[in-house]
Chain length 266, copies 3
């Protein structure tokens, strides 16, 4: 039997909004340690990894490990019916092919339960090794979202270049070019508004902008975003979920064959 009670139900609503455009169907994995998901996007280019630790739930009962295949679009439709202040409880009986979402209003005057059919989904869990990155940028998540959106009106690719002074986001399209530089500024009063760069060596990588835009759907989950870059590795775009875990997006850089600074092809 599974029973997970989340007082801050709006958080689960936001998680689904962050996931549903990127991933159609996915397995949610429940174990004693937490509620997690790992999935490729529908075009098998990006990877998303979610963790909500058991300690973050008001009540967390998971008698045995369980993998529940869900259609994220349908799950999102149901969660949209929860009020923003509602307590959400997720329930599943052992061996059942359904999951129930229960929504309780703060006054307990309105109680809803939504039952959704589960799906069988093939998936393999990728081990993601912990690594050192050449550069890690932490910045306001809304600033990063704004930059990705703005640059999408000019071009299709995003070049992220990190130096000690700052991080530069660039694109190029038919109508012209654009460069946006955010300077390191750790001294501001509000730490969530600062841009902080930890750099081993300068790095410049190119990505498909439309995936970056999808990742920024997670912006409501956290005031800050952390972008970890290394030239040989997928970028990690991470949104911490306060006291519960994180949502992390992975995306391999593009090999820039036809740019000025041509690199040896692999």
């Amino acid at each position: 039997m599974l029973e997970l009670r989340l007082v801050q139900g709006s958080l689960l609503k936001k998680v689904l909004e962050a996931l549903k455009d990127l991933v159609n169907d996915a397995n949610f994995d429940c174990s004693a340690t937490g509620f997690s998901l790992q999935a490729m996007d529908s075009s098998h280019v990006a990877l998303v990894s979610l963790l909500l630790r058991s300690e973050g739930f008001e009540h967390y009962r998971c008698d045995r490990n369980l993998s529940m295949g869900m259609n994220l679009n349908n799950m999102s439709k149901m969660l949209k019916c929860a009020g923003n202040d509602d307590i959400i409880t997720l329930k599943a009986d052992d061996g059942s092919d359904t999951v129930t979402f229960m929504f309780e209003s703060p006054t307990q005057d309105k109680i809803a339960d939504f039952e959704m059919k589960l799906m069988d989904i093939d998936s393999e869990h990728l081990g993601i090794p912990e690594t050192e990155y050449q550069a890690i940028v932490r910045m306001p998540s809304s600033e990063f979202a704004r930059i990705c959106k703005d640059l999408s009106s000019i071009g299709d690719t995003l070049v992220i270049s990190v130096t000690k002074e700052g991080v530069k986001f660039s694109t190029r399209g038919d109508i012209g070019t654009a460069n946006i530089v955010c300077r390191q500024n750790s001294t501001v009063d509000k730490p969530e508004e600062s841009t902080i760069i930890e750099m081993q060596e300068p790095v410049s990588l190119t990505f498909a902008l439309r995936y970056m835009n999808s990742f920024t759907k997670a912006t409501p989950l956290s005031n800050t975003v952390t972008i970890s870059l290394s030239s040989e590795l997928p970028v990690v775009v991470e949104y911490k979920i306060a006291e519960m875990g994180y949502i992390r997006f992975y995306l391999a850089p593009k090999i820039e064959e036809d740019e000025e600074e041509t690199k040896p092809q692999v």
Copy 2:
């Protein structure tokens, strides 16, 4: 001659917004007692009845009974041109085939008059007998609107079941099932936020959800909605219009042939 002056003109704007999706053309009937309308929706399934009593108008002159056929969409286009604080006066000369809406801004610096052609519309006035209902639910109108909208994302029909403890709204669709229970809670501070149930006997009826959703267009007219249910009768969904009258929607329940609790067919 007809001349009706309504200081709170926004009320007439809201009435039109509540009607125009359900009804295309209708006769407005003016008599010494008030301004009223009775019409079937365009698919002849639901009935709407509006009353604005003469006492609610600042000035009400109606020399003889008059029935004015109007296209509600065109009337809505004209009323949308009135400011929310405008005084609206409706005028018609005897025997004229037009009606004039006059809008006066609160400062009297802006005066608009819109003249609309009237139409000949066949209609018969149904007598609606006053009846006892098995159950009457009074609840916040915004809550009812939210529930109808939420359940529409899951299914097409709405089951309303009333017991002494509360009222349950249910639906069922391809992606699963949903039940929302609102408990009786007459003890809250603000009476307009309470849910009150007057019940002779438990009742459970099924309706087409899309009509219910249309009815909730009247939500801006009143903080509360009253739902009157009896197994042999159309449901009445009523929005009171403060100090003036009401808008009432009638909808026959569906006979549920293929539900678990099959009933004897009529």
Copy 3:
């Protein structure tokens, strides 16, 4: 070399929003006195004239007269990437076929530069003589925008009639007729909310409503609009840009052949 620094960058964003639906491509002309544009709309019916005087810029360097052809839609895409509090600097090197827009955030933590290709555009500069008008109406710009929008839901043409008492805006369509009268009211506390009429003689002119609606895209630039009318001349709809200049729209009146008050044809 050209370098124009505008502290209130949002003003340039608003100018582009006012222009881009009316004009596709246009030459911006820079001289020692200011930054200006004159262009016909794409159907060659309306004329727009913009002036931003050099004194309004924090820094204004223009070594020699320069005419820069720009696609206004692309320029608008780039300016939308500037924050509303950003300082915008426009830069062009002599003989270059590109222009650069630089956006600096108020804290200087974010610096963006957008480079756009210039175009060769044929254009002739029309001399617009200063003239006396039969009637000049100054009124709140939001009121004028609301009236044009409201009347568009009824008809296609706008009749503007000025008398000493006020200005009347009228239209006529399939569903009926509409007249909106704004009275002269110079005595209100807030001068930007007053309607002031300077009249030599009464005038009544007819215009295509869709152009008037386009002109009102300039509403965010100014609290008031000035409408100058003479029977033989194009109307001038002017929005002053505080301490910098103006944007003026010109539109020839329609000859009303098939109206009741038929005029001798020219």
